[in-house]
Assembly symmetry: C2
Homo-oligomer: 512 residues x 2
């Protein structure tokens, strides 16, 4: 299993060595705590506000980012980019092409696609033009793209930000701006082959990130709907009850049941029948068992779904990942557009006691089949079947960042290889000529932006930022037509003929 992707081998190894350590108690607690309640952003805001209040110069002027958003510092960017590189290199390994769509769409393109979540869309102000909304996911823009360009077949990935006006008090620890990495296969193919590949990709990415043990829950929208039908849910309530079931990973059954009965008017006995089903989860054998279920086996839709799941498990076994997959009747997925197989990957913590249920720390990847979405855009309703997945980079990032903080690890935020320095005054011109030569040769080089910096300051800069080499030019060197190369780690210095400098540095960098 390749875990390095496109990354510089050593940089990634350093990051992975941090991840590989077993999560200690404080780390586990921190992650749990985060997903249960604290919005780190709001804490940061509160601190900032109080800092500003202390000044009292401009008490009404609080510098901050909008609610639910955050900046990424250079340290955070390094971690983010390593995660994205690993994800994208996996998508490319599976033959996907890249593409991009605008951050906002015509509002009408997004309506009637997200069901109960539609209210969370960010609309743009009507400034005398079109009515626009920020994209809510990357799936609907992809479907719009396929329909608009009459593309019938495409395997693409898309990395981009999406925006949702989630209320932080309801859904804890979620951001309103977040990054998604999507992989989708559009086209009419033989059943379950692309679907199985999507699950293989999720496994490769989660293995590669080494976040710990994980499980992918699988179900099928047709099984969900069939289950509703045989339990006695009126068809008009299928989607809204589906939204309630989708909350089972965040809410207890009794609360979901209460929502369905008290708020959505479902008969209590119907809710209880659903309750019996959604407790079921297991492997391939549960699929076989459900084929025998006296009620479910009477429903045509459910049988179609079960048939596809049976085939899916066959392919997953060939891919060697069947043991990572759990057929889970409580998995419903909130979005309206799914029509077939649906899945969601969750990270598990190793149980402390044998026999204890693994503790889930939330979904980190999800997806499913949506065969009707492209047709909603097409004037003739021509369908293009699609299946895909989305990696929840934000949540993965939070876990990695939290672990790194816990272990007090630092990452280098620059790649500079050489500092051009001098021990003497009035050597700015020499430094400028020298550094231009290095840049022109493709060497990553910096110098201090001072006319006459102290040598010690220059050497400290290397140590604090991790620059491995110093090129030193002074009076003696200039006279002799040489420069000194100093290794920051060993403090060894050697004099090199000025004309051999670039070659010598390149040699050293290729060796290290």
């Amino acid at each position: 299993m390749p875990q390095l992707g496109l990354l510089p081998r050593r940089a990634w190894a350093a990051l992975l060595s941090q991840l590989l350590r077993p999560p200690c108690a404080s780390c586990t607690r921190a992650v749990r705590c985060h997903s249960q309640g604290e919005e780190p952003l709001q804490v940061a805001e509160a601190v900032l506000t109080s800092q500003l209040k202390a000044h009292q110069e401009k008490p009404n002027f609080i510098i901050r980012t909008p609610k639910g958003t955050r900046d990424l510092s250079p340290q955070q960017m390094v971690v983010r980019e390593k995660i994205l590189d690993l994800v994208v290199s996996c998508f490319k390994r599976h033959g996907a092409k890249g593409m991009d769509t605008p951050a906002f769409e015509l509002k009408e393109m997004l309506t009637e696609k997200y069901g109960e979540d539609s209210g969370l869309m960010y609309d743009l102000k009507d400034q005398g033009g079109e009515l626009l909304s920020l994209r809510y996911d990357l799936t609907v823009p992809f479907a719009r793209y396929l329909a608009m360009n009459k593309v019938k077949k495409m395997k693409r990935y898309h990395v981009g930000k999406v925006w949702r006006r989630e209320s932080p008090t309801i859904v804890q620890g979620r951001y309103r701006e977040f990054c998604q990495c999507d992989f989708d296969i559009a086209g009419q193919f033989d059943p379950m082959i692309p679907d199985a590949e999507c699950l293989k990709i999720m496994c490769e990415i989660l293995n590669g990130l080494q976040l710990g043990d994980f499980l992918i829950k699988v179900n099928d929208r047709r099984i969900v709907d069939g289950m509703f039908a045989v339990c006695g849910v009126p068809e008009s309530k299928f989607r809204t009850i589906c939204s309630s079931i989708d909350k089972l990973d965040k809410m207890a059954w009794k609360d979901v049941r209460h929502e369905m009965v008290a708020k959505k008017g479902l008969a209590p006995e119907v809710a209880d029948r659903i309750g019996d089903y959604v407790r079921c989860h297991g492997g391939e054998s549960l699929v076989k068992q459900m084929f025998q279920d006296p009620r479910l086996s009477q429903n045509k839709q459910a049988l179609e779904g079960l048939g596809d799941l049976k085939l899916l498990f066959e392919y997953l076994t060939l891919f060697g990942i069947a043991k990572k997959i759990s057929f889970d009747l409580s998995l419903a997925r909130g979005l309206d557009y799914y029509t077939g197989v649906i899945y969601e990957a969750v990270l598990l913590h190793t149980p402390t006691q044998a026999g204890e249920e693994p503790l889930s720390v939330g979904s980190v990847a999800a997806g499913g089949r949506y065969d009707g979405l492209v047709g909603m855009f097409d004037p003739k309703g021509h369908k293009v079947p699609c299946v895909g997945l989305s990696i929840g980079v934000e949540r993965i990032f939070n876990i990695v960042e939290q672990r790194m903080k816990t272990f007090g690890e630092k990452v280098r935020t620059t790649e500079t290889q050489v500092l051009v320095a001098t021990p003497h005054k009035n050597f700015l011109h020499e430094r400028l000529k020298l550094i231009a030569e290095l840049w022109d040769a493709g060497i990553k080089a910096e110098m201090l932006y001072k006319n006459n910096p102290k040598l010690l300051t220059q050497l400290h800069y290397c140590e604090s930022t991790g620059i491995p080499l110093v090129v030193i030019v002074g009076e003696q060197e200039l006279k002799e037509g040489v420069v000194k190369i100093r290794s920051v780690a060993s403090r060894e210095e050697v004099a090199i003929k000025r004309e051999n400098l670039v070659a010598e540095i390149q040699k050293r960098l290729s060796e290290s």
Copy 2:
């Protein structure tokens, strides 16, 4: 000069070979035509609209992206990513750290930063929370970040989308959503050293992209203001007259003069005095000449600006790029926040006749010094001097894409190395096992999503998408415990023991 950056050597070489060809007449015409008028998007929209009208099923439902925005197809993404890789690798060569900010900011963070351009900001709808606007550039969010985190010193790059409600009928060929690549140096340093590095970076990037000859116009806001003062512009009109002068690259002098006199109430003789200055451009010698200018030399601000430009040219000469720089008194830069040196890079076409003025195809990079912006966010007004640059990826992309279209060049949009194929029926299971083995070894592999594809279809797929190797498993191979490796280019096939397959493919890929 390194031109390959982080790119796969061959991929970039292919792209560059296209760029390196001299622009032919039709290409030049196409580029000119584009920058003069045609909005390719609107053409595409018109075609799409008429296509949909032909159907007449849903005449009111037109699938399109919002005005001034576009999707990037996989072909376009490949070109875009090559450009971004080259730009970012240059930024990293100069020791910059990455960072990111949200797509939108609190509206109050952006007000009073952009002068007359402020009306072009996209506001979000008030949905019962904060008042938000999409970011208009990456500079103001950077200043906000510095002030918010009390950072006094930072060298960072930022690649991201920005949004401006430009009217396509006024500013032709511009998009409302576009990508910027910014590099900035914040901190109190000795004069002109960071400023010179910014110009060096612009040269490295434009050389690396091989877009043809270019020129960087340089001026200083203090010289612009000094010029206004000695010409008799009332101080209250400095910024608005500056905005007019900024249009000189898009409008003729007589139209700019008309705007200043008729619309902005400037006295005609004042306008004419300005007119004399803005016709001046030249090298270092013009700086010396302006020191002697009877009016300008009486203005303290202008003298400060000229003194800095003198020092700047000294450093640019040491960097070996002085001949690419033109001191140009017509350069004003529209944004309010600049306080010192300003610059703008333009591409030139080789003149057809000796002595002809080079024809400019518009600005592709720009920037300047903004020493007051961070202080606008700080409650105590603490200043952090900054200088930076922004690469206009969109315009560069349009030029590259146009040339590629003209030459009919195609780029590979996937990186797949191996297709797993079979000549026989009922070999899906074997193919699935085989491909999982390749993926797990990090090999980029695809297969057709059919139970029983024809061999010819599979081979055609390789040819049309550029996959170099085919791994073939059939009845005979299965019996003998081998697989065949076929080179798509040479059509040669060899049988390899199944257990040696991964090693053999890796060997072939490393050799090619």
